[in-house]
Subunit: 337 residues, 2 copies
């Protein structure tokens, strides 16, 4: 049986290039041994963090090697099993990356059986009931430590993580200001997610828009983006504010940290905290997060949008959407075709 | 009776200028009313934060007005009292600034009777047993949340706050790296304070010196300085590191935040926290901090150095020492002469 996989051909300088940075290769799938399973990818999640893994520099995880398969979480079906833990036909989440088949040892920590409630789509396990949902829930409750009535700014507010953070904040009586990259997203955040305000950084001056809403009034900032958007937000933070640094998509493409206004004095005068966090260190809270989110979806308190695309061959093309303000909803590729 | 006071003549651009930015003026002291006391300044504390108050921009406290007396904490003697709370001859700490006399209402929150143990100098109430000591103790224990065996970097390590932070860290079994501005201070930190390492930022490349000690090894950073020293330190922080932003003397003279490498990505990949803090929000812990510090001084576990200067007329001249790597030990002016 032939596997197909997308590998990293060379490390991108700046924005990835579909032609030169990725390569699709084919290889024989090996036979499974006792204790192993063979899985077939059904859906692949595409996420901003993948750009970071393409760099050689230090990150919170090892980079993808040149020639190595691009990293990513998938929904896969067990098509052969010599494990007592999994049966043929089981659906699992696993981190096998941009490829069609993989042999996995049964105790590989990244595999887990999918326990998405039956009345919700299985693809939710890659989004609101998976890593992005847990990131939103735990970043919001554990890092930002919100109080009702506080004001939160969320960047990439219509995205997989941001859209959930903003809705959690609305649920508990906070004022939510979204920042997005298109008017379509602005409308979505205001009309469907019920955010109080939403600004388009491509057409509006975020600093001055925030300035119109008050002075030193932002209690929490959930930062998915970084760069100049963060500069604008930090100009308006309140005393004792908290910033959760969740993603830095604005600067993932930069080989060294770009320059920006120094934040230490702002943090000092505002007695404020900026904290980077990775959801994997909150594993003890995953079950709680997923349970909360499932209930809130079913009760209609949280809405969730997916952007499901077709075709294994189109993975790199779809990945590029993350860098072009075109992505709208959790980006997933159905790779069965 | 004539009061003399140093007032802010104009807001400095960059480093203050003794001639153009300060002015000494004289005025009549008014008679005290019932419930008031008249105090005579004995010692004035000079501290880096005062530079921040000379700017018009936002800080954690209101700026000094043009024509207003320069802010500062003093040791003063009550020389006349119509209050039941204070008697003639009482020694108090008060925030009356750079002046010789002041009439104070008895319930003014900034006054407190000095309770420095009798076997320690009264001037310690302006330093290790006052604001700088509390800042060191509370910033270290409450913000950095240290564990034995961790590595801490302290900037301005021979200063009023830094020298205490480093010694507290040594006391609990941490590895201490100081950063200072002269070889004399390096020797002091290594030989008298027993820091493990100390570097001179005027003659050594801090980034490369830290790089020789390990990779991603700094668990805590007590930042009194900011600017390029912080850039160097943040290049070497460990996973889950904590930075306490206590002072930013390197950039107090800058009217707008200067540019520097963006820190958000570093905080994200290292899952680290940067927190600005002001000691005044830990008032409920003051007594504990002072009690700890008094005991450790008497037991010889902490050494404390003062730089006591003479003369009310020399206050601005002495203040400038804070910006010139000349200051060594807690800067105090005996203003009785």
């Amino acid at each position: 049986m032939k596997n197909e996989k997308w590998v990293l051909k060379q490390r991108p300088m700046g924005k990835p290039n579909i032609e030169s940075d990725f390569e699709k290769i084919s290889e024989e799938v090996r036979k499974i041994e006792y204790g192993e399973i063979l899985v077939e990818t059904q859906y692949l999640s595409l996420d901003p963090y993948m750009r970071g893994r393409m760099n050689a520099g230090p990150s919170y995880a090892s980079p993808v090697e040149i020639g190595g398969v691009m990293e990513g979480e998938v929904i896969a079906k067990v098509i052969e099993s010599k494990s007592r833990l999994y049966q043929k036909g089981d659906m699992v989440n696993a981190k096998i990356g941009w490829q069609k088949y993989e042999v996995l040892y049964e105790n590989e920590p990244s595999i887990s059986k999918i326990n998405t409630p039956k009345d919700l789509p299985i693809t939710y396990s890659l989004g609101i009931l998976g890593m992005p949902g847990r990131t939103a829930h735990l970043g919001y409750f554990e890092i930002l430590k919100p109080k009702p009535g506080e004001t939160i700014v969320v960047s990439a507010a219509s995205g997989a993580v941001g859209s959930i953070v903003g809705q959690l904040a609305k649920l508990m009586g906070c004022r939510v200001i979204g920042i997005v990259g298109s008017d379509k997203k602005v409308n979505y955040c205001k009309n469907e997610l019920n955010f109080d305000y939403c600004f388009n950084y491509n057409t509006q001056d975020i600093d001055s828009e925030l300035g119109k809403l008050g002075e030193n009034f932002i209690n929490m900032y959930f930062d998915n983006v970084g760069g100049e958007i963060s500069d604008a937000v930090l100009n308006h933070i309140a005393l004792f504010s908290r910033t959760a640094v969740c993603g830095q998509i604005a600067i993932y493409n930069s080989p060294t940290p770009p320059m920006g206004p120094r934040v230490a004095r702002t943090l000092l005068t505002k007695q404020s905290t900026m904290q980077g966090f990775i959801v994997f260190n909150f594993a003890h809270k995953y079950e709680e997060a997923i349970s909360d989110l499932s209930n809130w979806i079913k009760e209609g308190k949280i809405v969730y949008k997916e952007d499901i695309n077709e075709g294994f061959n189109n993975i790199p093309l779809n990945f590029m959407k993350l860098f072009e303000s075109e992505n709208f909803g959790k980006l997933v590729v159905d790779v069965r075709s």
